[in-house]
Each structure stands twice: as C-alpha cells, then as structure tokens.
Symmetry: C2
Subunit: 465 residues, 2 copies
C-alpha cells in the first residue's frame, strides 16, 4: 500500500510512456467509472500529468468486482500489466491483477460532475487541485518557478531571501499590512499615541511590498542576485488581477545599465516560455483547447520575436498619432493605461515592447535620473494579451542625486541612510526589475482570475485555510 | 563601464580559471591595496567566489597611477591580460591596460580592517556581504536553496506556495504575529471586544507558522509536493538559534508511510551535502579553516553514513542505561533535550539517527496514532554537532481518529473541517517533514548564530532595513 511494499509505485506520467507488457503499480484517485455487465472501466489520476490511466477489467477477471464498486474520488492502489489500448487518445491501458481501495470518497464528494464553475471551485480550494484545470495550473506554476531558479542559477546569480517583515516601505507609497503582537483590545499608548516602541520589534513593522532595496545591498557585493518571495498589498480592491499576497521575482545586477536590464528581461521571458513548452506540453495543449484558444501560438510568437525598445516619449507620440479613441487621455507625463499598453504592443508593434525613459513624476524615487532632467531610466515590458508584465529600472547610483530624490518624495532621509550608504561606499551603476509571479502564470496559462492561479488566494475579506 | 561595452565582463571565479595570456575585463570592489615605489598591487573581489583577483602594475606601466590612488571598498572596472602569478595560492594575476574608478569609498568606510566581530558586522548588515565570511555564507545558502529545488524537482515533486497570511494555526500552539489594517490608535470594537470581522480579511489573520496543512491538500491530488517559504514565530526569546522570521522546506507525499518519509529525508540531506561540496568547495574550505575546524570531515562522514533508525522507547532506554549525568531528566513521555539528542547521535550511534514513534502527548495532533494507543508515527532526525535537524511524521489519515485528536487538542473542529475533508474524500496514507532552512545553513557552514546566516535577520526588537 505504501512506499516500501514489494513493487514500487510508478507515476502515471511514466506509466503512460511505458511499453505494453510492463507490470507495474499505480496509486491515485478515480476520476471516472463506467460499469458494464461484461467489462468495467475506470480512470486513475495521480497528479503527475493531466492524462488519466485507464484500467479495464472483464467479467470474471481480477479486479472486476472491485472496479464495479468504485466511485469518483476514491483512492486506489492498482497492480497490473499494461496492454495496448484500442481506445483513441491513449497508447496503453492497464489490466489489473489486484485493486485495493485505499480510501473511499463520501457520497457528498463535491467533484462528481465533470464541469464546475471556477467560482464554485474557489469555495473548495482544498479539493480543486484534483480537477484537470487546477492540476494543470499548478504544474505550470511549478515549471515557471523552477524555470526561474534554473535561469538565474545558470547565469551565476545568487538567490537571496530578503525580509518579509520590514520597517521600510520600498515604494514610499504602499498600502501596508501592519505586523504586531499587541493585544488589539488594549494597545499601549504613550503621550496619547500608539507606543510603537513597545511592539515586538521595538517599532512599527509591516509586510514587505518589495525586496528590491535589500537586494541592491546584496548585489553591491555579490554582483548578481535575485529574490523570489512573497510580497503584500493591503489594497481594498476586488479585481481579477489583484491579490493581497503574491510572489515576486526581483533580479538585481551590479555594473549593469538599463539596456542590460532589458536584455536580461527579454532572455528570461523567452527562457520561461521554452521551459513550459518543454515540461508541460500536455497542460499547455489543454489551456489552448479549453481555456484560452490560441495561447500556444501567441507564446511561440513571443519566444521567437525580438522585443522592441521605444522611449515613453515615442510611445506617447505614437498613441497621439494613432487615430484610436481611448477612454483615458494620452499625453507626456500621464501614466499609460491598460488600453494604451495593449494598443502599443498588439497593434502598433505587434510583439513585446520595452517602453523606456519615463517622466520622473510618475516613477519611483530610486530610479536613475536621465541627463534631460525630466525622465528616469525606467522600463516597462508590455506583452500582447496582458499589457505590462515587468517593470524595472537602472537605480540612482549618485549619492547626492538620490538624497535629493528621497527628500523630494517626502521620505524620511534617516530611514534611507543605509540605502544611501550603498552609494557612498564603492557605488556602481546597477539595475533590476520586478515580475509579479502570478501575473506570469496568468499570462502563460490564459487563466483570467488571479484567484485561480494561487493555491489558497488572499484577497479582501478572504483568508480561508 | 556597463554591460554592452565592447569587452564583456568576466566574473572573477571564471577569470581565475582562465589561461595566462587571456585578455579580459573584471568589475568589482577593491579589498586590499599595497603601494610601492616600483609596483602597486591591489585585489579585486566581485562576489562570484571567495578568492580575489590580484592586479599588478609596475611604475610607468598603464594603471600604476590609478592603482596607487585606490582604497579599500572602491568599485573598479579593469581591463587587462592575465599572466602567471609568482605569488603562492593563485595561478594568475592581471596586468592592467586600463583601470577605471567607478565609485570611491568614503573615508569612513567601515570595512577597513581585515577582521571585525560578527556582532559589529550585524550592525552593518547592508555592507557585511562584502566580507569573506558573509560572501561565503550567502553563496552556500544559495547552493542549499537551489539544491533543495533540484532535489525535489528531479524526483517529480511539485513546488507549491502555501499562504503566508493565514487564519489557521498549524501547530495549534504557536505564538503568532497578527496581520491587520486596523488603525491601532482606534481599533473598532463590537459588544466590548475587538471587531475582527471589520479587519481587512473579515476575521483575525496571522503570519503562518507552517505550510503543512495546505501542502497536504495539494498532495492529495498532485501526490508529491514541497513548500519552500517563510514562516514566523512571535516568540520573545533571544537565543543564537531562534529568529522571528525563517524559511522552511516542507515536502508532503501521498501514499507514503513513516519509513518512506525517513528514506526521503536521508536522501535529501545527503544530496545537499554533495551539492555544497560540488558548488562551494572553496567556501567550505574557508569554513573548515576559519569558522568550524573539522566541519568538512563531519559532513563527509554524514554523507557516507547509513542513518540509524531507533524508536523513542529504545532511545530513552539507551539514555537511561548510558551512565551519563544529564541536566534534564530522562524518561518515557518526556521530551528529548539538546544534551540527550547530542549524546544519542554523537556518542551512542556515532552518525545521524531517526528517532521514531513518539509519545502522542508531546507531539502534534495531526500525527498518525500507532496501534499501541500511546505513540504516534513521528520522526526526528538527529545529526552530530547540532541535534535535531528535521521533524516529520506520517499524518493521521483516518477521519474519525483525526477528529478525536482535534477535539482532544482543544482545537475548534469547525476551523479544521476542510482538513478533515481530505480524509473524507479519497484519503490516503501520507507523510512529510519540515526542515528549518537557516538551521541547515548553520549546520553546513558551522556558523553558530542564526543572525549570521540570514541577510537581514528579524529578532525581538530588531527589524532594521
């Protein structure tokens, strides 16, 4: 029944590739059962791949009685021999010599029918991984996560864990979750205000919105680093694209300018697409057929395109000349809205495009000021189908310019003194970017709600499990 | 100066392996300078390895004036040609054709002297990565992190991200950080108590202490999964082994019993040791020489040993027979203290040992009850030098037994209804373990304070950066 029994377990992804005649044991959960008088069929899935292994027992043969007794959701342990399958879509099926019922599914098992709405499945997030769609989503998510590590490790980057609990606010404008051990019924005060010094960390502490500033410190020493960890936004917005907790990837490179930053981002996106096609071809075909028709072709196009690079000024000029009617205004100094991003990458360029050199007023304080005095060395990567996928910049490496930007942004210079130190001791040009991992998973799978690419999503008023 | 210049950057780890005569460019930070009238030497480090590249310029040769003008901490960009080095301990050195000073270090640069105490370096966590010890620590940490992913991915495990913010408490006994968006100066109340329903998530929310319960849900569908994410303890203890924020690795396997769980843990520890020797041989030699003499031999011994397995009852009996004088009492039903763990693994067995089948009273509610009625299928892995490294168990897969254990532990059955569901629908024997990642880094490097293996550690009253 368990590991260590005589015949070891074969994962179904391997069983389906094995030659007819192979004797093996599979363990998994029954997806469908068809009972006849002369023959009983059932399909087993173990999560190792999208496809099920079909088990077929004729009347009077071993396993026939057990097979007739199965129901959807039941855990089984089957030993048998593979034979060529006459059914289409599968090379082999299993003739059982023994079927053990490991765990039955209670009659109220909610995954009886073949199709359920994603809304319903969100209410049973602890079970939805047993469906085709969510099994595929989490296998692709896994391939993208491991692909991220492979990409950076093969290039000599060091993975660094930046703090989750922090007393600083990278963007200087975040909506932060407070982390506290205060008894909320009895918060200590001093001189009429909350006595933050009495809290666990001796000051007010929050959940991080970005690991970038700490990653910069690590890069000014290790040269090339990346983070891959959770980040948080206490934003009370219920959209299909925002979660309160999500994972981010943030590479940071010493001795690297904005052009090098774009080079890395382009190579990274292309690597990940190749990785998913390599490791999850069956899952991607499923998404192409059932979730987002055309997505495979769209990703192949991106992987084989040279990404365009265009200044924000040129992008705005193109938008102004476009003749399109946009809902939101276009003009130098205004942020690009989703409709503008989509037009640029889908209609104007027809492939991914880096928009660079943005007005300093609409970008973060740490981005490097360009010589024109009004723009910063920032880049957004826009991709067809979703718009912005990556945002990055060259960082301001001049201590005096950075200090002025901190003051201009209304931030407390003392809180950023250590960050300025990085510019006082052996400063170097350096650059990095951030990629929201869930947005990447949505982009690659075609899933349209961020709640459906996170095992147990956190959004306003939702924190179950 | 930056990427995209004519000659690409060569990392120093590669430069030191290149053949004399190779022309290349390195970029990094000056570690030491020796100025003479006839010749100037300086050493450059770029974090890619422990060793520095020595640059040598004779009077009248290119770079001599610049070399004489350098100071420790300065960022430089050097183009030159490798020559055989007459100095011992290095195969090659660099004869510069140009030296660019990219960023000077202000005169108060705190890393002037060769040796600083770890206590002092903790106060400049944003700079300490530029020292030999911390560069080595974070390279080894990286190798262990990536090795973890490689190990599980090569075995078909799916990496899952379990929630950081949670409304449940896995251990049922944790000291939790509250996550809130309440204005602490004005916490809403209802009927005289804190109105948790008015908080961001519509209920009280906390930082996770473990991803295990959610990982179990994913395993009952994907079969083999692992987590690798941050976990938290709001424990007000200032020891060298406890941090408020640390990373954990938690594999979970369906159709796996306690013996299979031990098999996986043993293979994992051995794999990681091999990985670190492969990727970080120079850093490990450094730790062996400077930090923890004998550590390489100790790890080699572990990697080549067969791990012992012994029941808790046998372990207690051995301790009772040992003739040793222990500070803490020994007896069936009592927890093992560090002194007991060390004696068992170091003196009694002389290699790593799994202690299995613990009294149920001192283990968590979710561990599988053994047939004897008084023990559970739990294991602790004890290793020479540190004691407990891994804790795991087979999980209770019987719905009725689990429900009784939840009630017995004084937990709210309703909060764990989804967890019991996993036993109502296709339950299977399953097992997993948890490994504290920082404890692993300490074990492998010989560093004795957890604050020195985390880039920016969080402990009571410490949350800088």
């Amino acid at each position: 029944m368990t590991r260590g029994s005589d015949l070891p377990r074969t994962r179904i992804v391997r069983a389906l590739e094995a030659a007819p005649g192979t004797r093996l044991r599979v363990q998994g959960w029954v997806r469908t059962v068809r009972r006849g008088k002369e023959v009983a069929f059932f399909e087993v899935n173990d999560g190792s791949c999208l496809a099920n292994l079909q088990v077929v027992a004729g009347a009077g043969e071993p396993g026939f009685d057990e097979a007739r007794d199965l129901s959807t959701g039941t855990a089984v342990d089957v030993v048998g021999t593979l034979v060529e399958s006459p059914a289409k879509g599968q090379k082999v099926e299993l003739r059982p010599e023994s079927i053990e019922i490991v765990g039955r599914a209670a009659p109220d098992y909610p995954l009886q029918k073949k199709r359920h709405s994603f809304e319903f499945l969100r209410t049973i997030a602890h079970l939805r991984v047993r469906t085709n769609t969510f099994g595929a989503v989490f296998r692709v998510r896994n391939a993208l996560a491991y692909g991220t590590h492979r990409f950076f490790q093969e290039r000599g980057f060091v993975y660094v864990h930046t703090p989750i609990i922090t007393s600083s606010d990278t963007e200087g404008a975040g909506e932060l979750f407070r982390v506290t051990t205060f008894d909320l019924a009895n918060v200590p005060t001093k001189d009429g205000a909350v006595d933050d010094a009495a809290d666990f960390f001796g000051r007010a502490a929050y959940l991080t919105v970005s690991g970038q500033l700490c990653a910069e410190a690590m890069a000014i020493g290790l040269s090339d680093v990346y983070t891959f960890g959770p980040t948080f936004r206490a934003e009370n917005s219920n959209t299909s694209r925002h979660a309160s907790e999500f994972w981010m990837i943030e590479p940071e490179m010493a001795f690297c300018d904005l052009a090098g930053d774009c080079d890395l981002a382009e190579a990274y996106v292309k690597f990940l697409i190749g990785e998913v096609f390599d490791r999850c071809a069956e899952d991607m075909a499923f998404f192409d057929k059932r979730i987002a028709p055309g997505i495979v072709e769209r990703l192949e196009h991106v992987a084989s395109s040279s990404f365009e690079r265009m200044s924000y000024a040129d992008a705005v000029a193109a938008l102004e000349r476009s003749g399109e009617t946009f809902e939101y205004p276009v003009g130098f100094g205004l942020a690009l809205q989703a409709e503008h991003e989509r037009w640029l990458t889908e209609k104007h360029v027809g492939r991914p495009v880096f928009v660079t050199d943005w007005p300093k007023e609409i970008k973060a304080f740490y981005m490097r000021r360009n010589d024109d005095g009004r723009t910063v060395a920032a880049m957004d990567l826009l991709v067809p189908g979703v718009g912005e996928l990556i945002g990055g910049s060259q960082r301001e490496e001049r201590a005096d310019v950075l200090e002025a930007a901190i003051t201009e942004a209304g931030l407390d210079p003392e809180a950023y003194a250590w960050y300025v130190d990085l510019r006082r001791y052996g400063t170097v040009p350096h650059s990095g970017f951030g990629l929201g991992f869930e947005r990447l998973v949505m982009y690659v799978t075609g899933m349209t709600n961020i709640r459906d690419v996170i095992p147990f999503p956190r959004t306003p008023r939702h924190c179950a499990y």
